[in-house]
């Protein structure tokens, strides 16, 4: 059993001089920050001294999460997966969001390949002020022709900057791609080492310093055996693929497998399965006669199922926005920190170019609320002031029910942002769900309060009816 990270064991490796250079008063507090992942060993300047070299290395080892963090690609678009420490997010938080790769085949014509890659790279949906994006390209060698594959790899490399997954069970194919595909120094994920090819593939992984996927469909013992072997050969960055079946009895096994390896790694500290896992919902597209809409639908909910059960990397095929949007939204949900609501700064926002007679609207500082409201107002081209009250990051109804949204809070905000100097009128529009507070706010602020619609998408219509623009 390896040493376990506790406050004391971590503290032991620190310089123990309480110099405060790390920004907290003592090494003990710094140790607790390390444990909570609010700092890394590099944040302690004295520790970087050469005499602490071994200490530093041990500390890194000690703090290493039970699921290794694996980086794919290089530079700004590098993707990190894994690094998880808990089975359930309420125990801490999940760490690296599931990465999503979209596949292309080297049998597609060049134009289509470039088109897909550019579309994946440019893919953007904005939700709660955050860009929901796709992360990687998985390029499949369907042609079985190493030269074609190498050509396609370099074509992709030149047309987009996303990290790649090179998919072939033929070591030769991977080799030629690494030699001629212009990705030798880009750390693509090699997919995959198997029972049959592990030797050659792991040589490539070592030679080119690439992370490697280990494929052992529905066979954890084999998977472990492969990992042990690769580890002994000096390979550290691996991703596990136990084969994600999408139907029947084998789906049952798949879910069991995903849970078992994660639990063995986290609870039993079994380091041989302490790597991120991948799943390939794109396999729903294996068949001749598929209806594209229902298959996209299926792929999306299978992806969601696997994401709910620990998949750190998914390879998908669809590019339909209606099918990707819920998957990416789920990812955003699962990977928020359950310990704190996501909030924005309170204060006054100007939207468009408001004047002295423009409306003043009120909302809360819960990110979801704020961004939804701000987007709705912006997209309907309204010029106005938006007052964002600090409700400790809670939504409208929640903060009304829990007492974080109060007339006193509104009054304070009024004076701190000086709203009275900015507009000539004394009229405030509050969310429909805060109607209860109308009287209170009127009494404390002496402003007239108009109760707006319940949903911010109706603000435009509401203003058209109730706000005479001067």
């Amino acid at each position: 059993m390896s040493e376990k990270a506790t406050l004391l064991t971590v503290y032991r490796y620190l310089p123990q001089i309480n110099c405060g250079e790390c920004g907290v008063p003592s090494c003990m507090v710094f140790a607790s920050k390390l444990l909570n992942r609010e700092a890394t060993p590099e944040d302690c300047p004295p520790l970087k001294d050469l005499k602490y070299k071994e200490q530093m290395a041990r500390l890194a080892e000690l703090l290493a999460p039970p699921i290794k963090e694996v980086a794919i690609g290089v530079g700004e678009n590098m993707v990190k997966i894994g690094g998880e420490e808990v089975m359930y997010r309420h125990k801490l938080t999940y760490h690296n969001p599931t990465a999503i790769a979209i596949d292309v085949s080297d049998k597609m014509d060049d134009k289509k390949i470039v088109e897909i890659c550019k579309a994946v790279e440019a893919f953007t949906l904005v939700r709660i002020g955050e860009r929901l994006k796709l992360d990687m390209i998985a390029v499949r060698c369907a042609s079985k022709d190493p030269d074609r594959f190498a050509f396609v790899t370099s074509l992709i490399e030149r047309s987009c900057k996303l990290p790649l997954i090179l998919c072939s069970f033929e070591p030769k194919v991977l080799k030629v791609a690494l030699e001629k595909g212009e990705v030798a120094d880009k750390r693509p994920l090699l997919y995959a080492a198997t029972e049959d090819n592990w030797k050659e593939v792991s040589e490539l992984s070592k030679q080119y310093d690439c992370p490697v996927a280990v494929f052992a469909p529905n066979n954890i013992t084999l998977l472990k055996s492969l990992i042990k072997t690769l580890k002994a050969m000096g390979i550290h960055d691996m991703v596990m693929d136990l084969g994600a079946y999408t139907e029947g009895r084998l789906l049952k096994e798949t879910i069991n497998n995903l849970v078992m390896v994660r639990r063995a790694a986290i609870q039993r500290r079994d380091k041989d399965v302490g790597y991120p896992v991948m799943a390939i919902p794109a396999t729903v597209w294996i068949s001749d006669k598929l209806d594209p809409m229902t298959t996209s639908y299926r792929e999306a909910y299978m992806a969601s199922l696997f994401m709910n059960r620990y998949a750190d990397l998914l390879i998908m095929h669809t590019l339909d926005v209606w099918s990707l949007l819920p998957v990416l939204t789920l990812r955003q949900n699962i990977y928020t920190d359950p310990r704190k609501p996501v909030s924005v700064e309170a204060g006054l926002r100007t939207i468009g170019s408001p004047k002295a007679e423009s409306p003043v609207l009120l909302t809360t500082n819960f990110s979801l609320t704020y961004y939804t409201v701000a987007n709705d107002i912006e997209s309907s081209g309204i010029d106005c002031y938006l007052l964002v009250v600090d409700t400790e990051g809670l939504a409208v109804e929640v903060s009304v029910a829990g007492g974080q949204l109060t007339s006193a809070g509104v009054k304070d905000l009024f004076s701190s942002v000086g709203i009275e100097e900015k507009v000539k009128h004394h009229k405030l529009i509050i969310p429909g769900l805060a109607a209860r507070l109308k009287g209170d706010i009127e009494d404390t602020t002496n402003w007239e309060v108009l109760v707006g619609p319940r949903d911010s998408s109706q603000i435009k219509g509401f203003l058209a009816k109730n706000w005479a623009v001067g």
Binding site: R12, R89, I220, L251, D270, S304, W322, L325, T329
Partner: protein
């Protein structure tokens, strides 16, 4: 505080720390903040020089190394109670079959360690008057929405619903103020029209719901239905009384808080309603609108029950049709693509997420979700054979 006291205190704390070395990290943080300077001197004397072990050297490898893996099985001291919904003739009711939920011995679908005997169950929403529904849902029920009995029938016959969840929203004083007596008539009509068990929901009006549910409970006497819901805002004692008198189960609803859920369960238990007649509704928020809270809440509740907290050992109901409240589910948008697919998918993914997090019973709106989730459950219970081959996915995917 003198230095000596501080040392002693510090030492005790250290012992505590050593003892609870592997408690959850967030607890460690609290302790650490309190400790800061206090225990510094003691710790310095305790902390020994780290033991440095030599690193492993790489070797030349010819064959695969052996490995063993045994499933990491856990045994839980607790078990979720089993709730029976519906009664057949021999039980004093008139339903085709009885449905059981709960009885779980492990987390959903962890079949490597235990079998959860009862599969998740799918109820569908029917309303006692036509209401505003998303277009994608409405298109399937336009012709039957005027009559809840027809609506229920269609859902059972065409889409194989396990349970009908009849929502008597017209009883709301601000809507139609339908009397409890008239509402009970609707309940009877639906009961006659279908042979599956029923869940009866009120309008959410705190004053009226207990009366409506009581009247419904009476006409359903012996059918072992589910009354939705008892909560701290309404006269839950009255609802519990009706459930006991006429033999029904009750949904205990709380908005998003494990402690409040526990409290309410306790109230119902104290009224003499057994665990076997309680179903928890801890609130199901839509994907993108609080689903993160819901999923962690359900996992916490289920784990607490399995670990032996007897106030949280009831099965969970998830009205995941709440997914339709998300604008991404119903709103027309060029950017987001066709809502005919987007909407049901939003409900499907919300449902799957709460299903793996611990919910046992679902209330759904769209037939596609019913179909998909039903098939998924069968697969996850190993009831469907499959020869699926994915080994050659690299070459076999179309396109």
């Amino acid at each position: 505080m003198g230095e000596k006291e501080a040392r002693i205190l510090g030492k005790n704390l250290i012992e505590l720390l050593e003892k609870f070395g592997d408690i959850e990290l967030d607890n460690v943080e609290i302790r650490a903040e309190e400790l800061t300077f206090l225990i510094q001197p003691v710790i310095s004397s305790l902390a020994q020089a780290p033991q440095l072990v030599p690193r492993v050297v790489e070797k030349e490898i010819e064959a695969l190394l052996e490995a063993e893996f045994s499933p990491p099985i856990e045994v839980y001291p607790g078990e979720i109670a089993e709730v029976q919904i519906g009664a057949t003739k021999s039980d004093g009711g008139s339903r085709r079959k009885v449905i059981k939920i709960g009885g779980a011995k492990t987390m959903p679908f962890y079949s490597f360690e235990a079998t959860n005997q009862n599969k998740p169950v799918l109820a569908v929403d029917v309303f006692d008057m036509p209401i505003t529904l998303a277009k994608a849902v409405k298109q399937h029920f336009k012709d039957v929405m005027a009559d809840p009995a027809d609506w229920a029938k269609k859902y059972v016959e065409d889409f194989d619903a396990d349970i009908i969840s009849l929502n008597l929203i017209s009883t709301d004083p601000l809507i139609k103020d339908t009397s409890p007596k008239d509402a009970a008539k609707t309940v009877e009509q639906v009961l006659q029209a279908v042979d599956v068990p029923l869940i009866i929901g009120g309008s959410g009006n705190k004053a009226k719901d207990p009366l409506v549910l009581e009247a419904a409970a009476e006409v359903l006497s012996g059918e072992r239905c589910v009354l939705n819901s008892a909560n701290v805002d309404n006269d839950y004692k009255r609802i519990v009384k009706a459930a006991k008198q006429y033999g029904h189960a009750v949904i205990a609803f709380t908005p998003m808080d494990i402690n409040n859920q526990k409290k309410l369960n306790r109230y119902l238990l104290d009224e003499g309603l057994p665990k076997e007649q309680i179903i928890m509704d801890p609130t199901t928020a839509a994907l993108g609108y609080g689903l993160d809270y819901t999923l962690s809440l359900m996992e916490r509740i289920k784990l607490a029950g399995l670990l032996g907290d007897s106030d949280l050992q009831m099965p969970i109901v998830a009205p995941s049709s709440n997914a339709w409240g998300a604008r991404e589910a119903w709103m027309k948008s060029e950017e987001w693509g066709p809502r005919e697919f987007r909407g049901p998918l939003w409900e499907t993914i919300t449902t799957i997420t709460v299903m793996v997090s611990g919910a046992d019973l679902f209330m759904l709106s769209h037939p596609a979700t019913v179909r998909v989730v039903r098939k998924l459950i069968q697969a996850l219970y190993g009831e469907v054979d499959s020869e699926q081959r994915i080994q050659d996915w690299i070459t076999e995917i179309e396109g």
